[in-house]
């Protein structure tokens, strides 16, 4: 199930996954995640329901995959996936998470309890992976687990807070204010 992310693989598979993803993201803009059935997704994607199950275990797996793909794109756009720790990169990462969650809230119909929890788990996993990658590239051989965990939660918390505020002004200012608090946990290990 989804073994190779973007290696050479059968074009039919790439195409089918693309159709499922697009269909799902369109549906998320219309309806609540809880009310979206696998049937809905496959109907809109013009594929058979059985085919869906050849690619994803269930709609929760699809959500995970979808979120991680979208977030990964956000990260790759800013080339944060191929770099090391720096104050500037950290700043960009926080910006990315804030913007991603904000977009999520404006694009998706009624964010629901369970839905948000699933997103949170997935995004934190991504952030943690990225930070670990950054820290492990440094000369310091200290294990990165603790500082990466702290920073991950801090960053997600900031972004969640930001994206939930009614009128979101001045993202730049918000991030600049928060940045040093997160940076202090990381720079000693980088």
């Amino acid at each position: 199930m989804l073994p190779n992310p973007d290696e050479k693989l059968d074009p039919r598979i790439k195409r089918t996954r693309g159709l499922i993803l697009r269909s799902f993201e369109d549906l998320l803009a219309e309806k609540n995640f809880e009310t979206i059935s696998v049937q809905d997704v496959t109907d809109k994607a013009q594929i058979n329901r059985a085919t869906f199950y050849a690619h994803f275990q269930d709609k929760y797996a699809l959500l995970d995959y979808s979120i991680s793909q979208m977030f990964m794109q956000e990260i790759e756009k800013r080339t944060l996936n191929v770099c090391h720790y720096s104050s500037d990169n950290l700043r960009n990462l926080i910006l990315a998470v804030c913007e991603f969650l904000s977009r999520m809230h404006t694009d998706c119909a009624q964010p629901h309890q369970q839905f948000e929890a699933l997103i949170e788990a997935q995004i934190k996993q991504q952030i943690f992976g990225l930070l670990s990658h950054w820290l492990e590239q440094s000369k310091s051989k200290v294990p990165a687990e603790i500082p990466a965990t702290v920073a991950t939660w801090a960053i997600y918390g900031l972004a969640s807070h930001y994206s939930h505020t009614k009128k979101r002004p001045a993202l730049e200012k918000f991030v600049d204010e928060a940045l040093p608090l997160v940076a202090v946990n990381l720079e000693q290990f980088a």
Copy 2:
């Protein structure tokens, strides 16, 4: 090859044809028809080149199909396919052909000699079929071939002329002026 237009048929077939069509129409907006290769189409459509040949004999067959589909849509939009002869319907038909050709000229990159000839053949075939259908529904048992032919060429000629004029103003006025000249050939048989 393309046996059933929109009967129940394998969703893979519908989907694949749709992908080929969209890809082709996008390409037409970018490049000259002559310079579009089957490879180009299949690359953009994300399908295998061999699959293309399972659906269309060559790119000329694709052009025919594409044109006829687009034109048919234009016709169905105005519900001209399910009606009989009347001055008003004829007027709408002329309008449809004019608008279709005009759109063709604005949407497609450099209309070329051969390209225009292929379109002309296809569209005239459609118009002829439609007019024959109208005339054969009338009580007059006279064969419709001759008047339908005359009107077909007249209508296409008008539309071609209109769509080639540099600044196209007042389509309505243009059609109202031309309408009686075409109508006189048809109404005696309807």
